[in-house]
Symmetry: C2
Subunit: 140 residues, 2 copies
DNA sequence: AATATTGCCTACAAAACTGATAGGTAATTA
DNA sequence: TAATTACCTATCAGTTTTGTAGGCAATATT
């Protein structure tokens, strides 16, 4: 078994939350996030571009630059952050896009995976990122 | 991202279904299952012992031997078969047993994973293996 | 203009995991 | 005795994960 969500996705979530809490309308340099979150700066440098490409975060280069959320925190879902950083997020190889399993027509187990996948997506996509903040109901 | 369920679990499910359909109270040799399911015999030899150890399947060595389900097909859940073959089945490393993440007390994302894990287990554990058979409502 | 800061890009790599394969041993029946 | 079958250990190629290293490009401050 592998993990549905790897460090890429988990770190991305923490980076987004860090931005929400520590940017005050300003751009936050990655170095600061790295220190606060105790995540390798160089590794985050590999994760951030995915969030930028997906339009979740805006970046500015040069001195005084850094990253900033491009929407209000409660407009994000956990699912969209994870998908942007993980690339793909399915529970079994059978469901991987751009690939049709030759057994899919007669396979008795396929529906199990399809429903499982749907359930996972539903949960993560309907969960607002803002729920995870201190002020959210979960930690109250 | 990795896959929550690998070939180990997927093959195990197909092997159990094959046993349900093709054993008529008799022990079925692995070689037959390998041919019907088109799965490597040697690979299955690595998977079966896990199902035996978990008590899901009983084995008899020697000529005329093989494997047989130890319960009626509708007494199994998909979840117990997967757990027996996969060993562990959690969506993120944070939840791996025998290991306590030092951040777990203050981590804002942990509850996401706990709920996700619970949801997945609930679904798979409440799904009877017999649902996947031809006669099940899914393929009707 | 010079300098410091910051994001961005490519390449590399150790470790672990996946998906097997190979070969031999033990048990059981015909 | 011979054939069949499960069981056990070791090996292994390929991929993925989790980073690291180094330099280039852009921008603000001085």
């Amino acid at each position: 078994m592998g993990y549905l969500v790897s460090t890429k996705g988990r770190y991305a979530l923490r980076m987004m939350l860090d931005l929400a809490e520590n940017s005050g309308g300003n751009y936050v340099p990655l170095k600061e996030i790295a220190e606060r979150q105790d995540i390798s700066l160089k590794y985050m440098e590999a994760i951030m571009p995915n969030l930028v490409k997906a339009g979740l975060v805006s970046a500015v280069q040069g001195k005084g630059g850094g990253y900033m959320l491009s929407k209000d925190i409660d407009e994000y879902s956990v699912g969209e952050v994870l998908r942007a950083s993980e690339g793909s997020m399915v529970p079994v190889a059978c469901l991987e896009g751009g690939f049709e399993c030759p057994r899919s027509e007669t396979c008795k187990t396929r529906k199990v995976w399809e429903r499982l996948d749907h359930m996972i997506d539903d949960y993560l996509d309907s969960l607002p990122l803002s729920e995870l903040l201190e002020r959210g109901p979960w930690t109250a």
